[in-house]
């Protein structure tokens, strides 16, 4: 890729690029607030039922595939690191490093989704898909199914968010960076994607212990 640089001018409502970038970041922070409440409601509801039916949920949770969840938390935390390194490289004008760190980030994200897909397959064979393929195991009734409802809703919504994140990173790589729109003077779009990426990572930091760890000992 040739080293191209375009003059980027701010949109009409901004005085300069730094105001535009600053505003974009605030926008993402506000969006993350709403997302926190969205996932927060789910996790809160989950714990209400978990406390109400602690035994049933403990029994049901033993069928969650621990190694998949654990591998995935390692992968996601690493991907947040590579994302930040990409932003650092953008700020320093190290274009090649930025591109490689972003490729690494997207690859780790897809790796997470691959493992998650494999885990879903294991879950299906284990008959823990509510309604579609579900078998109530001894000691689970009546609320054990609810654990799996939360499992699918929580991890499913998280996977959708991560897929969007991978899409955003690819959009940065294939469109914004290729067109020379990310420069050391203006790399706010990349920072905004980075904020989103770390948020999705953080959601897993809460989902992982709630699903895989609580009550395992």
């Amino acid at each position: 890729m040739p080293m191209s640089s375009r003059t980027i001018s701010p949109e009409i409502q901004y005085a300069d690029l730094s105001q535009q970038g600053d505003t974009a970041q605030l926008g993402m922070w506000v969006f993350i607030t709403t997302e926190t409440l969205f996932f927060g409601t789910l996790i809160f509801t989950y714990y209400i039922y978990r406390i109400l039916y602690s035994h049933e949920f403990d029994v049901a949770a033993r069928d969650a595939v621990l190694w998949c969840g654990s591998a995935n938390i390692g992968i996601l935390i690493t991907s947040s690191l590579t994302m930040v390194l990409a932003i650092n490289a953008a700020a320093d004008g190290r274009r090649r490093a930025m591109i490689w760190w972003l490729i690494a980030t997207a690859a780790l994200g897809m790796c997470f989704l691959g493992i998650k897909g494999y885990e879903y397959n294991l879950d299906y064979n284990d008959k823990v898909v509510p309604v579609a393929n579900f078998e109530m195991k001894p000691g689970e009734a009546p609320a054990g199914e609810l654990f799996w409802v939360f499992y699918w809703v929580g991890t499913g919504l998280h996977a959708i968010h991560l897929t969007i994140g991978v899409g955003l990173v690819l959009y940065m790589l294939l469109w914004r960076i290729r067109r020379g729109e990310i420069t050391p003077d203006y790399y706010a779009p990349l920072e905004v994607v980075g904020l989103y990426w770390s948020f999705v990572d953080t959601v897993w930091l809460f989902l992982f212990p709630s699903i895989y760890l609580v009550g395992r000992s």
Partner: protein, 547 residues
């Protein structure tokens, strides 16, 4: 088309006037007008349902089949709450005037703003699909287990529509919060913001924090209804009361989502038409923020008879009383702002005064239903219906029409016909009270809400209410005609026909595409009116005589 544009100065509406230029516009003012079109459409669908309800209830025998009646009140609720009242003032006046009032050239994220309109219409289409296919009969509250297991209508589509609608709310309010933080013109400090901007800011905070909770709630309802799991089904471990908690955690603040913008509009109107600075500006700001915050701690007062613990009921009852404090501060300050003013009884002011009176009645009856012991008696009766219609219809819709008349010359460059408008404003007030005051009495006598029939002894009050509704319908339809007429034949308006102080009045009417050639500099706070001669100082520091 070009020949028509010659006699008008170039403005946001005439510049490049093609269908495509409107559908792909990034101009906040055009998007505001697009929202006007959408919400007007939904308002008349919701209004049609209300008409059917009142026609049906005019006599105990009724007019509709019970199942049709149930569908009518559900449509009315869902349409009016999510498709008219919540977006009514923010997405139209907020979109149009928030950037202009703070001296910005546009909102922070114009594309997100346009996307919000498309998402809003998409959610409307999904809801219309649910209605056309056979409707829903759950009431706007979608309580399980009825909604998830027994209701026969298109609950999934309707709940999905509400879910999608939330994205639009979030996009618009996110835009408002970020714009207010980052795009204020030089000199526009926080305490120089007009109260309308503060109202938009506080309502946006509530929308941002409440909507995601409803989104998750609706999402889980959709999952239960569509797939058939037992999230809220007691026989499979679920808890239907949990739905109610999550629903009201959104839907009680939603009441304030509807009223806070109206309070902002009324503050602008009262100070302008009384030619007086608003009394206690800082108190008004703090009251707005206090209402926004307290709104999150009162939700369970909707559930006093749903089997919640008596201790939490007592706490929620007490917390609900706290809302009255900032609300009373606002009413007192509006009243004192009128004192020794030189009041002009133009149509917007009539609407604003109507708002203050009706909001006061709605607010005081709110204290009655917040009282634990009394609520057990009036819960789910017409008393509650009357109470919240006084707030939402008497309050918010009056303020909406007040704002519509006040800003009409700015938006269109034309005056509306004043005497027709005064007539409509008066008619609204009369029709509204005739419709809803009898419902207080009916509710107190024990008539339950959502029943499709009633005992014959209540017929006269119901007939009175239905008669009032027909007057109200005329009052709401009238502006459609005379405002439409004024678009073509109305007298041309100057930049500042009312002599108001906000920055939005310092541009030509209608404003040019990016509002200002140069970003204005703000010299002083809002509402610098002198009641003695009516003179005023606009926020850019220019003193004007009152004509």
């Amino acid at each position: 088309m070009t020949t028509i544009a010659i006699d008008l100065p170039r403005n946001y509406a005439t510049e490049e006037n093609t269908i495509v230029s409107w559908l792909f516009t990034k101009d906040h003012k055009r998007i505001a007008l697009l929202f006007f079109a959408s919400i007007t459409f939904f308002f008349f669908i919701g209004g049609f349902a209300a008409t059917m309800i009142r026609l049906h209830l005019a006599t105990p025998g009724g007019l509709l089949q019970p199942s049709v009646y149930n569908r009518m009140f559900t449509v009315h609720g869902v349409m009016m709450v999510w498709f008219f009242l919540i977006p009514s003032i923010p997405n139209t006046f907020g979109n149009f005037f928030l950037p202009m009032m703070i001296g910005a050239h546009d909102l922070a994220f114009p594309r997100v703003n346009l996307l919000s309109w498309y998402v809003f219409n998409l959610s409307g289409l999904v809801l219309l699909y649910a209605l056309v296919m056979g409707g829903i009969d759950t009431g706007w509250t979608f309580y399980p287990p009825y909604s998830t297991q027994y209701a026969s209508g298109y609950v999934f589509a309707a709940a999905l529509a509400v879910f999608i609608n939330g994205f639009s709310s979030i996009m618009t309010s996110l835009n408002f919060v970020v714009t207010t933080h980052r795009l204020r013109a030089p000199g526009m400090t926080w305490l120089r913001l007009p109260l309308f901007v503060w109202a938009m800011y506080s309502v946006s905070i509530v929308m941002l924090t409440a909507t995601p909770v409803l989104a998750m709630d609706m999402f889980l309802l959709c999952v239960e209804r569509f797939i058939g799991v037992g999230m809220f089904d007691p026989s499979r471990g679920g808890d239907p009361i949990l739905w109610q908690h999550m629903f009201w955690f959104y839907s009680h603040p939603a009441v304030y989502i509807m009223i806070l913008p109206a309070m902002g509009v009324v503050s602008e109107l009262i100070s302008c038409y009384a030619r007086r600075p608003i009394f206690g500006y800082l108190g008004m700001v703090m009251a707005l923020m206090a209402i926004a915050i307290i709104s999150f701690f009162v939700w369970a007062h909707h559930m006093f008879v749903a089997g919640i613990s008596i201790y939490s009921a007592v706490v929620f009852s007490l917390l609900s009383f706290f809302v009255a404090v900032p609300s009373a501060i606002k009413v007192f300050n509006w009243t004192v702002s009128l004192h020794k003013g030189s009041i002009v009884f133009d149509a917007p002011m009539l609407y604003a005064l109507g708002f203050v009176l009706l909001f006061t009645i709605g607010g005081l009856t709110g204290l009655i239903v917040a009282t634990l012991a009394v609520d057990v008696h009036v819960h789910d009766t017409y008393f509650v219906i009357a109470h919240f219609h006084y707030i939402m219809v008497g309050g918010t819709v009056s303020a909406f029409f007040g704002g519509l008349h006040y800003w009409w010359p700015k938006m269109t460059g034309r005056f509306y016909p004043e005497s027709w408008a005064r007539f409509a404003a008066t008619l609204t007030f009369v029709g509204f009270n005739l419709t809803f005051f009898p419902q207080f009495i009916l509710g107190y006598l024990g008539m339950p809400r959502r029943y499709y029939t009633y005992v014959p002894a209540w017929e006269s009050w119901n007939l009175l209410s239905s008669a009032g509704a027909s007057i109200l319908a005329v009052a709401y339809a009238l502006p459609l005609f005379y405002l439409g007429w004024s678009l073509l034949y109305g007298r041309r308006a100057g930049p500042n026909p009312w002599g108001a102080t906000g920055l939005e009045w310092t541009t030509p009417s209608p404003p040019p595409t990016h509002n200002w050639e140069l970003t204005p500099t703000v010299k002083l706070g809002p509402y610098s009116y002198n009641p003695e001669d009516g003179s005023y100082i606009t926020q850019d520091g220019v003193k004007h005589a009152y004509v």
